[in-house]
Symmetry: C2
Subunit: 350 residues, 2 copies
């Protein structure tokens, strides 16, 4: 029979809500010593270690807004949904310990599609050492939506907020910027090519780093640990989800300070430079506004500069000024122009 | 100009993502002493009191699946989204302290619609003494979706799970059952009448309790306190979101016990009885399978019976048996029939 041709299409209604949750989460084991109770009760229960405070962050990823399933594999989507939330926990200088995952999904997705998403979630949870302790799976009338809440812990004196930057502090960024946005541009272009000629075989070799940064971003779990090892307590910190300029402005606004950002200091991967040229885009604009890099941006006291200056993961890109001096980009041509937030904005793009 | 006729239609894209979140959440003040940091940083920060464990629950409400905006006012929707999550915290015998709220919304909703939802969220947060400490607002391609994560605290020895029911324990329920489901039936009927004759003026007077239970449910914040005051520590507890039979079966399965539920003990409001007759529905079936009552179902040791027997909020509806005896309903005619879970199921209804 025609209907039996693809045996891997199990309708989600066949399992029912509880059956489906059981099926998808049965392999999630609790490994964190602070995870007292996970999925299967009215709520998860978490022990908080002595002297620690709890950190909680939540994010929604919506099909057609935050991702396009025509080029995002479901497993990558599950992985990314976890990673982008963990990034917020690391941006508090905290250790991530648990997540909850809720998924709304229309009937056009078979159980096997959800299994793929959960496989990605499980991979990320394992790699980042967090337990999946709760969640909800429900229907949607159209499309797919993933809501993740990430939970972490840290000592109060270790936590870093956005509002602690002080005049003369150095502005530091981890990794490099702009690659995720360019990865998206490459994928969008290939999608258009595919529409015209479904048999075309794209050569994505020159863009591997960009595409990986877009489809399988990593959160900087290593940075809070690195900073602790170096004996550096940042004064302010934020993760770069919306583009460097937008995040710098968040820190400056909340800390009531100004800044000078130096264009020539912004760390760019060679693929970002070459692909920007190919797309006739300005690589600085990409780094400033591209977003989805999930690097950490933070400020440190100048006294801490010797501790980080030799570190290949960290780049000093500017410094904090008095609020009256405003927020500026110092270009390669040594011109001072106002820094504008033009980060990717889920509501404006709609 | 025609476009200016309704000045209360502000497109959400006019404010942008950050502007919108600021606008909607600017009136949320932190009142709980455990709320260290709320909206506006990468994550919320929560202090955990000495000796307490943390309880976390998350739920999604999806337009067209969990609610129908043709008869659910937006303010009520915001209120209900909070309440149904808090109910899970109380079902752990814990105190709810914080929530995060994420909303995905299509452009057909103006800012004023989101303001209504947030007004309902604020009303619930105030009444239940919880702080809104985080959230996300984003576009959806269609419809409205609300994801709430509720956070609470309790001492480990006070927490109640689903798996602690013991043979001979009494099965107890708060309040009365079935009203919310019948309220939905009344609203669905009026919607159909309205479609045929938009000028009809329905007389909803005989259904006020039912409609209130459907549109503005309350979570049993009072029950954990009442139990503490009475000196009763339940052995197992769950909230009734999917119907009494489904919830009893959850407790029996997880506690590895059986039960006898007595039909004549199930507490029903007079409006449930009269409206069941009008709709030619069996009121026991409604109570067993209706769902959305958000009452608490729990088991207690027989020794604790004297402490609760005179309480008007609590009804003993059955008792726990050995697992081998199975899970049964003892009907008014004194027949013993197997208890079947036919609770409302968001995935099967799709």
């Amino acid at each position: 029979m025609l209907e039996d041709k693809n045996p891997l299409k199990t309708n989600i209604s066949q399992l029912g809500e509880f059956g489906l949750i059981d099926h998808l989460t049965k392999n999630f084991k609790l490994k964190q010593k602070t995870s007292i109770r996970g999925i299967g009760d009215d709520a998860a229960v978490i022990a908080v270690e002595k002297g620690m405070q709890l950190v909680v962050s939540t994010d929604l990823l919506v099909e057609g807004v935050h991702f396009d399933l025509s080029y995002v594999p479901l497993k990558h989507l599950g992985y990314k949904a976890v990673v982008v939330n963990l990034s917020d926990i690391y941006a508090m200088n905290a250790t991530a310990t648990q997540i909850t995952v809720s998924i709304a999904v229309s009937n056009r997705f078979p159980v096997e599609a959800l299994e793929e998403i959960y496989a990605g979630i499980a991979t990320a949870a394992k790699l980042y050492h967090v337990d999946v302790v709760g969640g909800d799976t429900t229907s949607s009338t159209t499309g797919l939506l993933i809501s993740v809440t990430a939970i972490g812990q840290a000592k109060p004196e270790v936590l870093v907020y956005r509002d602690g930057a002080k005049e003369n502090d150095l502005l530091v960024v981890s990794g490099d910027l702009g690659a995720a946005y360019l990865g998206l541009q490459v994928l969008e272009r290939e999608k258009e090519v595919f529409k015209v000629n479904p048999n075309s075989q794209p050569d994505l070799e020159p863009y591997t780093y960009l595409i990986e940064r877009q489809l399988k971003p990593e959160a900087r779990k290593d940075i809070p640990k690195l900073l602790a090892d170096l004996g550096v307590q940042p004064t302010a910190m934020i993760d770069i989800s919306d583009g460097l300029s937008s995040e710098i402005l968040h820190i400056c606004k909340q800390s009531e300070v100004g800044c000078n950002l130096y264009e020539d200091k912004i760390p760019l991967d060679p693929q970002v430079i070459s692909t920007s040229e190919e797309f006739k885009l300005d690589s600085t604009t990409i780094a400033l506004s591209g977003g989805e890099d999930y690097e950490l941006l933070f400020t440190i006291s100048t006294e801490d500069f010797p501790k980080i200056k030799a570190n290949p993961h960290l780049t000093v890109i500017g410094h904090i000024t008095h609020k009256k001096e405003g927020t500026h980009l110092i270009t390669r041509a040594n011109t001072k122009i106002p820094l504008i937030a033009r980060g990717w904005n889920a509501l404006q793009e709609d």
